[in-house]
Every structure is written in C-alpha cells, then in structure tokens.
C-alpha cells in the first residue's frame, strides 16, 4: 500500500512507451492542402477500416521529419507535396522501393518520376507554377510575367513561401534558375525581395492571404490559385509569359515504417482513379496521374501553358538542392 502511489504514478508515465503499433493503423504524412488530406484519410478509413493517423506538414518539413526519425521511423506513407524532396529522400534511402501494380495505368510523367528514383517514389498529380493576384487590390494593367512582379506598385505586397520549408517555393527557385541562369535568378530574387512582405512556412499560405486581401499577390501553384477563385475569392491565376516550371506531386513509402502492409494498400489505393478523383471534391485542381481518372474542368490545362523542360533529376538531387538553398539563405534569407 505504501509504495503503490509512487509506483503507479511512475509506471503510468511509462505506460505508453513500449507499446508497438497495432495492426489496423496507418501513419500518413500528408503534404497537400489539409482539406484534401482529410478527405483521403477519411475515404481510405471508410473503405478499409484501417484507422488513419494523419499529420499535415509541408513537404520540406516532412522531409526533415523523415530525416530526424531515420533509424526508427514512425510514419508509413508520405503522400503529396512537390516531387523534389521526395526524390531527395529517395536518394538518401529514407523511402522504400515498391513497384505498384497500378503503375501501368499512370501517365508517362508519373512513371518517369518513379524511374528517376529507382522506384522509391511515384507521381500522383501534376501542376504548373504561377501566381495569383487579388483583383480588388491590383489595378490594370494586370501582371502577366515573372518580370511584372518587380514593379514598384507591388512594394511589400507579394508573398511566397520560404524555399527551406516549402516545395512550392523551391520549385520557384529551381524554375527561375532554369529560365534565367543561376546568377541572374538570384539577382531577380534579390530585386523581388523588395516587394515581398513575408516568406511564409507553407507553400499555399500566400494565396490564402491574397484571397483575404492580406497581400495582393501570392506566388503559388496555379491550381491553388484556381481553388481560391472557385471558392469565390477575387483571385485571378496567372501563367507567367516567360514560361514556368511544374511539380510532379509524389508519394513514397517510408523505409522501415511500422505498418508496411497497410502502407502498400494505401499506395495502391491512392493511385486508383477513384481515389484520384477525390482531389476535385476537396477543391484541389491538380492534374491526376492515373490516365483513367477524370481531369477536373477547373484544372489549369497543362498543354496551354508555356512549360519549361523541368530537369527533375538535377534539381531534385541532394547536392543541387542544398547548394541552392544555402545560396538563398546567404543572399536572400540573410536580408530579413
């Protein structure tokens, strides 16, 4: 009796420590819009009865988390977010090799993403980079090119995410480097910095802020801008005239995750036309990677946008990514 109080108090503290994952669970790291993450988790749970534990974090943050958990991973699937951090994780062996039977149904760009990574990741959607502006705050002439963003009238009125945390912003960095050349791109970003009010953490936050009028322009993926417009915000999406890069949103299995079977079940399901059609329901208008999945009519048509020949292999590699981010920190981030 005497020691029971202390004993039980101390034991209760440890009670949850050594419990392993139970059979019917899936830990999902999700890097798209919360709304879509929720719908995916919920639909998979309804279909299979597997309890989905979902965390939404930006792709850069998720990559950092996988790295921190290396050795004892706690996640099963990393679904969504730009392809570059997925490729980097694949290169570092943080994610597992898996060849899904669904691969045959996918678009070429999705399969080439898988091939580039040695089958450690796969494309699930595609979307072009661009920007959106608030039509109530931006007067004529409307901006149409990357160069227009340097205009003085947008002083402190543009937002973009921090490339360290957001795949969107890293895609911008890599796109500008590919269009202009590296030194010129950093010069451009340096001038653009005068007009940037804040580098946000999450990639889509700038367009949310543009929708509520907290900022005039948000540099985001075009489908994010379209999503705001569909919901009734005064937002117009722009495909920059100089050409633009695009993302291949990807999915990877975490190497050594606690529930590998459920993870593969989710992986196959997420590549099915039915699962990919969920995006539009959740106001996400990316182009799905399964050829049989319906393309939402609101989606920015990729064939009508000047797309550059984005070099995923180079710009998704660890070395290039780290070098560009370090230079961004030195030349742009350090001014803040």
């Amino acid at each position: 009796m005497r020691k029971t109080t202390i004993l039980s108090a101390t034991l209760a503290g440890f009670i949850a420590a050594p419990i392993a994952a139970s059979a019917d669970e899936l830990v999902l790291y999700c890097s798209v819009q919360e709304e879509w993450c929720r719908l995916m988790a919920e639909s998979f749970q309804r279909e299979t009865g597997i309890n989905v534990l979902m965390t939404r974090r930006s792709s850069g943050e998720t990559y950092a988390q996988l790295k921190a958990e290396e050795g004892q991973p706690r996640g099963d699937v990393w679904w969504g977010g730009t392809g570059d951090p997925h490729l980097q994780a694949a290169e570092e062996g943080l994610t597992a090799v898996y060849e899904s039977p669904m691969l045959a149904e996918l678009q070429d760009w999705a399969v080439s993403q898988a091939n580039a990574s040695g089958m450690r990741t796969v494309g699930i959607y595609a979307g072009a980079l661009g920007y959106g502006f608030n039509t109530e705050l931006v007067d004529d002439p409307a901006p149409a090119c990357w160069a227009d963003l340097l205009d003085d009238r947008f002083r402190d009125d543009i937002q973009v995410a921090n490339p360290n945390s957001s795949g969107t912003a890293y895609t911008l960095l890599a796109t500008l480097v590919q269009i202009m050349g590296e030194d010129e791109a950093f010069e451009f970003l340096g001038e653009l910095d005068e007009n940037i009010s804040q580098y946000t953490q999450s990639g889509a936050a700038p367009i949310r802020n543009a929708a509520t009028g907290e900022t005039a322009i948000g540099i985001v993926f075009m489908h994010d801008a379209v999503a705001q417009a569909v919901q009734g915000a005064p937002i117009a999406a722009v495909a920059p005239c100089e050409g633009t890069g695009y993302e291949i949103g990807s999915m990877s299995l975490v190497e050594g995750g606690p529930n590998p079977d459920n993870a593969r079940a989710f992986y196959d399901w997420a590549l099915s036309p039915e699962a990919q059609a969920l995006g539009a329901e959740a106001n996400s208008f990316q182009v799905p990677s399964n050829r049989n999945a319906p393309v939402p009519p609101e989606s920015p048509a990729l064939d009508q946008i000047t797309l550059i020949d984005y070099d995923f292999e180079t710009y998704g590699s660890s070395d290039t990514r780290q070098r560009l981010l370090a230079r961004w920190d030195d030349e742009i981030g350090a001014r803040r």
Binding site: M1, R2, K3, T5, L7, A9, T10, A12, G13, I15, A16, A17, P18, A20, L28, Y29, Q33, E34, R38, E42, Q45, L53, T55, R56, R57, S58, G60, E61, A64, K67, A68, E69, G71, Q72, R74, G75, P85, D156, N162, N164, S165, S197, Q198, Y199, T200, Q201, S202, A204, A205, R208, A211, T212, G213, E214, T215, A233, L325, A334, R335, R336
Partner: protein, 728 residues
C-alpha cells in the same frame, strides 16, 4: 511481537518486494523497447540478451544475485547500499555506452563485437530495473537514518530527485552539449562561438535605419515594451477596482480569467481579423482618413497588442493584491499632516506599490520572452527567439546546434530576469499588513489620476471585448476572415463530425484525434502533477533531509525554463536511446508534469505554512507512518492547494503550445498543435471553432474538478480562503 519487530518484518517484506521487481525486470521483461533487427533471443530480457553475446548487460543481471546475497548478510549495511548504487550506475552507463548505431567508444567494440549492431532504448525491463534499484537505494538509506528513518519520505525524495534529474537536468545538459556540436558531430568550441556571435542574433540595424535587428534584440525590445505597457494597464485597472466606486468589479475579476483559458493563436487570429489589411478596423480607418490600408499589424505592433491583451490580466491580479494590501492608515496620516491627495499618492502610495510593480513587470517580461503562439501568428518577418528556435528544429533545415545555442540564450535571459526579481524584492521591507486594527477605508484616487486611469482602461476593455466577440462569432459564421457573416455549423462539422454506422460510433471529424489525445494527456497529467507537486511541498515543508535547499532550487528551476527550451531539450535528449520516448503520449505527460509541478508545489507550500505541525505530530505519535499521515491528515487540509494545482495543470496542459509543438506526432497530436496548423493554412474559422470548443470543455472540467475535490471541512462556520490564481 514488539513494535520494533513489526517494523523490522515490514522492512524485510518491502525489500523482498523490490528484489522481486528487480528479478522480474532483468529476467523476464523485454529489456528494450524494440529488438535489434537480427537478434532473436529466446527471452528478450536482459538475461537472454546477455547470454547471446550482449555481454555489457551481464553486470546489470549479476547485480541481482549479489544484492540477494548482501541482503541476507546485512540489509542495512554499506555493502548492500553500494551494490544497489552500483547496479543503478551500471544500468545508466550501459545505456549510454552502446547507442543506436553502435558503441560510444572503440574499446567496447573490441570486447563485445555484437555492440557494433547498436541497441535501442529501454523497454519495460530497463525502466522497471531502474525503478527497483532506486527503491532499494531509498530503502537502505532510510534504514541507515535518512529522513529520520521514514521509508516513505526517503523513497519520495529519492524518486523525485531521480525524476527531476532525468526529466529536467539531463535534457538541459544534453541541450547545452548540443550547442557545441559541429556539423560533423565533433564537440568543439568553434561552432558554438560562430553560432553565438552570428550577426542575425545581435544585429542592431533596425535602430539605425536598417531593415532588421537580431533575434535577441527583437525579443528584448518586445519583452520590455510588453512588460511596460501591460504593467501600466494592470496598475490602472487595479487602482480603479480598489480605489474607486467602480461597480463592475466582480465582472472585471471574472474577465481576467479569460486569457488564462484562451488557447494560443486564437487571439492573434482575432487581431488579424480586426486589424489585418482587410480587417474591419483597418478598412474603416483607411476610409475615414483616405489612406491605403497596410499590413501595419504584422510584426512588433501586432505581437505587442496580443501580448498586452494576454498579460494585463496577470499584472492586474498581482497589482490588485499589492494595492489592497496597502494599509490605509499610512495614507490617512499623510493627509492629516496636511498633504493633498496628489502628494499623498506620490509620496506614500507609489513607493509602497513599487515591489508589486517590479514583480508584475518581470513576470510580464518573462512571459513575453517565452511566448510562442502570438509571434508565430502575427510576426510576419519579425522573428523572436522562440519562433527562431522552432524553425531551426521543425523547418526543413534541421539544425539542432543552432536551436540549442538560441535556447541557451533564451534560458539565460529568463534566469537573469528571475534573479533580478528575487534580488529586487528581497532588499527592503514593505510590510504594511500588521495585526493592528486600521480604519479600513482606503483613500480615493486623486482626480487627475483617476481620469488618466479611465482613459487607459476604456480602450483596453473595448479592445478585449472586440477580440472576444470575434472569437465567439468567428466559429459559427461562414468566413470571418472575409466578413462573410452567414451563420453556419460547417466548421463544427468539419472538426467534430461523427456517425453511428454499422461498426458503432465512428469519428470522422478532423479534430477528434487531437481532441482525444489532449483530453487524455491532460487528464493523466493533472493528477500526476498535483501529486508530485504536493508531495514535494510536503517534503520541503515537513521533512528534514540532507540537500533540502538544493532539492527546492532544482524543482523551481524547471519552472524558469521557457517552454520552447523544454521542447528542444526533450528532442535533444529523448530522441535517442537509452530513454527514447519521443513520439509517445508518455513524453507529453512527462513534459507537463515537470513543467507545472512547481506551481502545485508553491500552492502546497503556501497551504502548509497555514497548518500547524501539531496535527501531523499527533498522527505520528499515534503510530501512523508518513504515508498514512499524508493521506489521512494532510491531504484533507490542503484541498484548496490541490484544487489550484489540478486546475492549473489541467488548463496548462490543454492550452500549452511552446513545449508540446516539438513533441507531438501523427499518433499523438495535441489540440494546440492542430490549431496552429489550421492558422498557418489560413483556416481561421476552423481554428476559432476548435478554440471555442476547447474553452467550453475547460470550463466544464474546472467545474467537475471543483465538485470532485470539494471544499475542506474545518469544522468552522465560515472560512476565509485566499485563492491564488495561477498565471501561465
């Protein structure tokens, strides 16, 4: 049997129980949390593992027969104590000597080649063995006269010291080390120096017309401004409540509780809704004065507004106590001697207020330094220490060394503030409450001062009301961010939808996971915090043992450490074996228990100071031991302290964010971390809805706790009970 024989046989039974526990731990229970990949021992206990080549576990296993043998010779002897201590030390050392990826030093790999495979953190076996060793140490210490031979007190001291060591000092030590670790894992002074003197920490550019200052400068500026303004406001409010015929005093007191149960971020969101560029008031101002609306609220201004709103109630409560305690006879004497009300206020009242003002100022300053929720929502490009620490760990460029250096800086600033506080308050005598009867009528404020006080307070109250109206309305309208005020329950449905389907109750709302975890963690943490806190207070107030002062200081230290620092230090300490518990619910509970325990302890100490020792002595004279006395006599008498500690620890666990934001995981997410995600994604309505639900849940729980604890029965008709109100 004689009483001595009874005591001896009880002691023997207790020792046997600890030894059985130790045997269970090393022979049967799985030693590790997860087995090394290629090891498949017959029994996953320390014995099984040691037999399969993991020979560094032998000393732990062999301590068991040695202890049995020594116990049979002389249970209270030095040999037994030494063996128990050695067992504990060996246990800890082996945990650190062989890490996840192999041995910490090369010599070990030569002796045990298997060590190269590494080992994972402690499982049940490891933890229970540690528990048993500590129990045996305390047991023997008591037999040798520690704590006047009371075995219960001795165990309590040993366990609390061990837990404080593991969960307060070890993480801080680990964090301090991390600040010196270079990019390649080497320990050196160079990286620390570079990090410490980086220009983005100390830069003073903003004072000389540049764009940005360093983070330390930002934090200090913000802290000083927030403390000054909220102290001034708190004083004005306290003077109005105590020294004027203001009618709504009770309402004001009740309202001052609001910020304590308000989840973080929601005030920041409300401020954006009101004062952001498209905010109602910004738009209004822009129309009236015909200027372009700007993002003026983001940065120092916005954070300052939110912090003043949150801290003014705290300074108000501190200063109200001071104002009410001033003996009116002094002021009367001054006026009798011919001084006017103005002169009396500045010559008599003001000097007596000074210690209260200093305390309120420093409290607000410390809170401002530790604040994380407001800077992250309203900061824009304005970074302070707490947010920079967070991004160094949670951002894409994980840099623990950088975070650790900043955390040490933040900790030093906080400790300096605490030190100033104790020095300042310790010097002069400000005693005005004496046993002598006084006239009891406080003098009223001089007219001019009253005007100033009202002029400050009215805008503040309007501001507070505006913010809370937004919070109340925001969750139940279509989109408060765009002022679309169509009523809707859609946000509530998104967060808390559930269905009763074929497989029973199914929770589909996105907030359920975090809500369940939050409630569970808070419900476990609150009683534990209270137990540890009151127990510690009882030990400090009523027991004599060696090292009591150091013990008391140690418990208070855990209170002084800002939440962000606790979070980072837990990541640094508990992400790797031997105690690898990140990603569990246990780490959340532990974090809360040791952060909030000092509040329970303070409440307990205050209560014990009012209760005469004679009752406990009577109990002990009648033959009750320490445990029975504590349960039957002491606890019923300190019910108010138990209530305070329970409520405080529960509410803090529900609303804390700065520490838990580092410790949440997909499996165990907390409400505040979830809300932060929603705010970051711009889903203000959802964040506000969830916060409203949380506040309602908290109020219900506080009422439940009140009913559960009940009032203490003193056998008097009326009691006068001073209730301390906790501040975050």
């Amino acid at each position: 049997m004689t009483p001595d024989e009874i005591r001896a046989s009880r002691a023997a039974r207790e020792r046997l129980a600890w030894l059985v526990l130790l045997a269970l731990a090393v022979l049967v229970l799985p030693w590790h949390r997860a087995m090394p990949t290629d090891a498949t021992p017959l029994i996953p206990s320390a014995l099984g593992l040691a037999a399969e080549g993991r020979g560094w576990l032998w000393p732990v296993v062999l301590s068991l027969p040695l202890l049995v043998w020594a116990g049979m010779r002389d249970a209270a002897g030095r040999l037994f104590l030494g063996l128990a201590l050695a067992g504990f030390v060996v246990l800890v050392v082996q945990g650190f000597a062989v890490g996840l990826r192999g041995p910490a030093f090369d010599g070990l790999a030569a002796v045990f080649p298997v060590a190269a495979q590494g080992q994972t953190g402690f499982g049940w076996g490891g933890f229970v063995a540690g528990l048993a060793f500590l129990g045996l140490i305390a047991h023997t210490l008591a037999l040798r006269g520690f704590c006047r031979g009371d075995r219960f007190s001795a165990s309590a001291v040993v366990f609390i010291v061990a837990l404080l060591g593991l969960f307060v000092f070890f993480p801080i030590l680990k964090l301090a080390t991390a600040a010196f670790v270079g990019p390649d894992g080497e320990l050196a002074l160079g990286p620390f120096r570079d990090r410490l003197f980086a220009p983005d920490i100390w830069r003073l550019d903003c004072l000389t017309g540049g764009r940005r200052c360093g983070v330390v400068i930002n934090s200090l500026m913000l802290g000083l401004l927030a403390a000054t303004i909220s102290t001034a406001l708190g004083l004005a409010l306290a003077l109005i409540v105590a020294r004027t015929s203001f009618r709504f005093k009770q309402t004001l007191r009740a309202l001052s509780i609001l910020p304590i149960i308000t989840p973080p971020f929601v005030v920041g969101v409300a401020i954006i809704v009101l004062f952001g560029r498209t905010g109602l008031l910004t738009q209004f101002g822009a129309e009236v004065f015909d200027v372009r609306p700007t993002r003026w609220v983001y940065g120092l201004t916005g954070i300052l507004m939110a912090q003043v709103l949150a801290f003014t109630p705290i300074t108000f409560l501190v200063l109200l106590g001071t104002v009410e305690a001033i003996n009116p006879t002094l002021e009367e004497a001054s006026q009798t001697l011919g001084a006017g009300p103005v002169k009396t206020f500045f010559k008599i009242t003001w000097p007596l207020l000074r210690p209260g003002i200093a305390a309120a100022f420093l409290l607000a300053f410390i809170e401002s330094l530790a604040d994380f929720g407001n800077p992250i929502v309203l900061g824009g490009g304005f970074e302070v220490l707490s947010t920079r620490i967070f991004f160094a760990v949670a951002g894409a460029r994980y840099d623990l060394g950088h975070a650790a250096t900043l955390a040490m800086l933040l900790l030093s600033l906080t400790l300096i503030a605490f030190w100033l506080q104790s020095r300042w308050l310790g010097r002069k005598s400000y005693v005005t409450v004496t046993g002598k009867s006084d006239a009891g009528l406080a003098s009223t404020l001089p007219f001019g001062l009253k005007g100033v006080a009202w002029a400050v307070v009215i805008p503040f109250v309007l501001f507070t009301m505006g913010v809370y109206i937004v919070v109340l309305v925001g969750g139940f309208v279509h989109d408060i961010g765009r002022w679309d005020l169509t009523p809707t329950f859609a946000h509530l449905r998104t967060a808390f939808a559930f269905e009763i389907g074929a497989s029973g109750l199914e929770f589909y709302g996105s907030a359920w996971n975090s809500m369940k975890t939050t409630l569970l963690v808070s419900a476990i943490a609150a009683p534990l915090t209270t137990a540890v806190g009151i127990m510690t207070a009882w030990l400090v107030a009523r027991q004599d043992f060696a090292g009591k002062n150091a013990f008391e200081f140690g418990t208070m230290l855990s209170f002084a450490i800002p939440g962000t620092v606790v979070g980072v230090s837990y990541v640094a300490a508990f992400n790797v074996p031997p105690v690898d518990i990140t990603g569990t619910a246990a780490i959340l509970v532990i974090c809360f228990v040791f952060r909030n325990m000092p509040v329970g302890m303070r409440a307990g100490l205050a209560a014990f100071a009012q209760i005469d020792r004679s009752m406990e002595e009577a109990s002990q004279t009648m033959g009750a031991g320490g445990a029975a006395t504590l349960r039957r006599v002491v606890l019923p008498l300190v019910k108010p302290a138990v209530f305070t500690a329970l409520v405080y620890s529960f509410v803090t666990a529900m609303t804390a964010v700065s520490a838990v934001i580092f410790l949440v995981s997909a499996r165990h997410n907390m409400a505040t971390a979830y809300i932060m995600g929603r705010v970051e994604a711009g889903e203000y309505a959802l964040a506000i809805t969830y916060s409203t639900v949380l506040m309602i849940v908290m109020i219900i729980c506080i009422v439940l706790i009140q009913l559960l604890v009940g009032a203490r029965k003193l056998g008097r008709r009326r009691e006068f009970q001073g209730q301390t109100t906790p501040a975050e």
